[in-house]
């Protein structure tokens, strides 16, 4: 028995800001969920199950908050699953929801991911106490900066590449009304002159800390037939994980990321991702991760990712636009960031990305990663239903 094709028929996200003091946690998730339902022209009664994801519970100080959010998300009397796979969680959550449709367990599923980081301090929430970690690894930037330095040493990339990515993503964000950062006055010189946080990652090359949520309504073929707007179809989806630290780990281009992409491309029948994929929403919390992931995901040969960035290929009007939404560098409610990548990929192939729409986007990749570059979740969505 073949799997049921999975369609994205509703997408909603909140306005992302540093602190959404106007809403509770329940209000925040409900805002995204209602927008997704409205987009799909469905009501709570049409939803069979809710799959919710977020990063560590310490970020809000609520243990297993899905229990409290059951009412706000219309889940009472329904199945509710809570996924947590570190930074990749927004992507993993969407994939768990998609499997419920693919396996024909449910007909229509609401999936949602959120983080309300203003409730605490995410950087210190991620700084583990001794003896789990050395005391100098303040926040995620402290963990990833050495991997970036390794990439630069390995590839000989010019030290300005990171600033090009940041400047591009922050300018793309100006076209995305939901993005957290709208820095109208930003110049490349300002990015390059911003304070150094974790060498070589500067302040303007670092993701913000955001409050926000993202929701999608997933359904099967029958649901897609009834949908008011063109759906995005899931052509492939996969998760891969590897240990945090071990002798022989390639922290610059982790094998789990390569394997995950290869699995997705196999499912989607992609043999030349650079040519066959029109737009990529990848998880770039620190600017240098764009060239690193371009190589890891097979869009460039090893050592060649920075050349794509430098030559403008990843610009909004380039040959392979990366993060037209402004990406994680412009909006980072951690638990939701992966789902935002998945949802923005879907918006592109639905032709609904507004000012940051890539003309003629037919196939888009959504990518998320988490932990110590060890958890990966990806999906490839298309404007056409998958061949069955």
């Amino acid at each position: 028995m073949s799997k049921e094709p999975v369609a994205v028929v509703g997408i909603g996200q909140t306005r992302h800001v540093a602190a959404r003091k106007d809403v509770s946690i329940a209000g925040l998730v409900r805002e995204a969920a209602l927008r997704a339902l409205e987009d799909a022209q469905l009501t709570w009664a049409d939803i069979d199950a809710v799959v919710i994801g977020k990063a560590p519970d310490f970020f809000e100080g609520v243990m297993m908050p899905e229990l409290y959010l059951a009412d706000a998300l219309g889940a009472v009397g329904k199945p509710m699953l809570r996924v947590h796979t570190a930074g990749s969680v927004g992507g993993s959550t969407a994939l768990v929801a998609a499997n419920l449709i693919a396996a024909r367990v449910h007909g229509t599923v609401l999936t949602l991911a959120f983080e309300k980081q203003s409730e605490s301090n995410a950087m210190w929430g991620l700084s583990l106490p001794v003896p789990f970690q050395q005391p100098l690894l303040a926040g995620a930037g402290g963990f990833f900066a050495p991997h970036v330095r390794a990439y630069i040493r390995r590839t000989g990339a010019p030290d300005t590449i990171g600033s090009l990515v940041a400047y591009k993503d922050r300018r793309n964000a100006l076209k995305n009304p939901y993005a957290h950062l709208h820095e109208h006055d930003l110049t490349l010189e300002k990015v390059q002159a911003s304070p150094m946080l974790w060498d070589p990652v500067r302040y303007s090359e670092t993701c913000p800390s955001s409050d926000g949520a993202c929701a999608m309504v997933l359904t099967g073929r029958a649901g897609a037939d009834r949908a008011p707007h063109p759906p995005a179809w899931v052509h492939g989806g996969a998760m891969r994980s590897e240990p945090t630290l071990f002798a022989g780990k390639d922290a610059v281009s982790p094998r789990a990321g390569r394997d995950c992409a290869a699995d997705v491309y196999r499912q989607a029948g992609i043999t030349d991702p650079r040519r066959e994929i029109d737009v990529v929403e990848m998880y770039v919390p620190f600017s240098w991760y764009e060239p690193m992931w371009l190589e890891n995901l097979g869009f460039a040969e090893e050592g060649g990712g920075w050349k794509l960035t430098e030559s403008g290929v990843t610009e909004l009007d380039g040959d392979l636009p990366v993060n037209p939404s402004g990406g994680v560098l412009s909006t980072n409610p951690i638990g939701a960031s992966g789902m935002l990548r998945f949802a923005e990929a879907a918006l592109q192939v639905r032709g609904q990305a507004g000012e940051h729409q890539v003309a003629g986007a037919r196939r888009a990749l959504g990518h998320a990663y988490g932990g110590g570059s060890q958890f990966f979740a990806m999906w490839l969505v298309g404007a056409e239903p998958p061949a069955t």
């Binding site: 297993m64 229990l67 009472v76 329904k78 199945p79 947590h84 110590g372």
Partner: protein
């Protein structure tokens, strides 16, 4: 729909304080146990899914340590739920249904000993209206027990009967934390006495799932999952009838539990009063063997106790002691969220 079975189950000894071992060290023997039962290596498993809680571990991303222990190299297809392992099993079951995997390793673990569990669980409540009052888990269960008394559905004697039966049965369970007769003791929060409450402790459990003929090849008597479903109720206790568990009943209906009688039920009822609520919701008569393992009243490792109910039910089917068993898991205050599975032999 694809047939999926539990082919192996293992659990740690559940102890009040496992300070001498880390979570990974607690988990590793259990993983090795189930892999050994199925004669599989970790790398031969198609999908891995686990359940645990950062709040119990006291650190973010605590599950990454356990994954290191699994030996996720080469990289594995893997996921994690911040829920009891019973829901990790559910996610794995769905994965097997899609046909993307034929085998899955499911595990979960929890250490309550490093903190004050009753206080920690208050952080699970509505952060605006309930958590600031710090109502602890025993106090909330006591409200439920009192509601049951007020409705004439139970009394202290009935509760004591549940406690005595559970711990007597647990005498035959080498993993249980409380085994044999145990005094009911003083009220902890009236009307619940010490004997009505679960032991607080640390433990881990693991299960291997397999589909169709793969399951038959891995195990002489696979415990087939004939149905599995889970449902959640409102969070605010004031809008719920605490003497009933409609989410359990609905999950049981969807799992097909009422299509034919079960002979055994493993119910995840941490408090004696909750077993009575669940039996009423599931319409389980005296002819059904309830919690032959001793249940959560004998060992209640957070995040694992629900998965253990599924494992215990499967193990009974594998031993030929049950033909059709119901397994139940719960999460949240006063049985807010419930999962029901129906397991059968060939």
């Amino acid at each position: 729909m694809r047939e999926v079975a539990i082919v192996a189950f293992g659990q740690s000894d559940h102890v009040p304080d496992s300070a001498a071992v880390s979570e990974v060290e607690m988990l590793m023997p259990v993983l090795n146990d189930v892999l050994g039962q199925a004669a599989l290596k970790a790398g031969e498993i198609d999908f891995v899914c686990s359940g645990s809680s950062d709040y119990l571990a006291g650190r973010a991303f605590s599950f990454t340590m356990a994954l290191d222990g699994v030996g996720a190299w080469p990289p594995v297809s893997e996921s994690h739920v911040e829920m009891d392992g019973a829901w990790a099993l559910y996610e794995a079951w769905v994965k097997l249904l899609t046909g993307e995997a034929d085998t899955a390793l499911v595990y979960s673990y929890g250490k309550s000993s490093p903190g004050d569990l009753r206080e920690v669980l208050t952080r699970q409540l509505d952060p605006y209206y309930m958590a600031p009052l710090w109502p602890d888990s025993v106090a909330l269960a006591a409200l439920q027990a009192q509601a049951l008394f007020d409705a004439g559905a139970a009394d202290e004697r009935a509760l004591a009967g549940v406690a005595a039966r559970s711990r007597t049965d647990a005498a035959a369970n080498p993993h249980a934390q409380l085994r044999g007769e145990h005094p009911m003791g003083e009220h902890v929060v009236a009307p619940l006495r010490r004997g009505d409450c679960p032991p607080i402790g640390d433990g881990a459990a693991a299960v291997i799932l397999a589909a169709g003929d793969t399951a038959r090849g891995l195990c002489d008597r696979p415990a087939w999952i004939r149905g599995i479903d889970h449902r959640i109720e409102a969070h605010a206790l004031g809008v719920r009838d605490l003497t009933d568990s409609p989410s359990t009943r609905l999950a049981a209906e969807r799992a097909g539990a009422f299509e034919r009688p079960v002979d055994t039920a493993e119910l995840h009822a941490p408090f004696t009063s909750q077993e009575i609520v669940l039996r009423r919701a599931l319409r389980l008569g005296d002819e059904v063997t309830i919690n032959p393992s001793g249940g959560a009243l004998a060992a209640n490792p957070m995040m694992a106790a629900g998965l253990i109910r599924l494992g215990e039910a499967a193990a009974r089917i594998q031993r030929g002691e049950s033909r059709r068993a119901l397994a139940h898991a719960t999460s949240g205050p006063c049985l807010q969220q419930n999962l029901v599975a129906v397991l059968e032999g060939e």
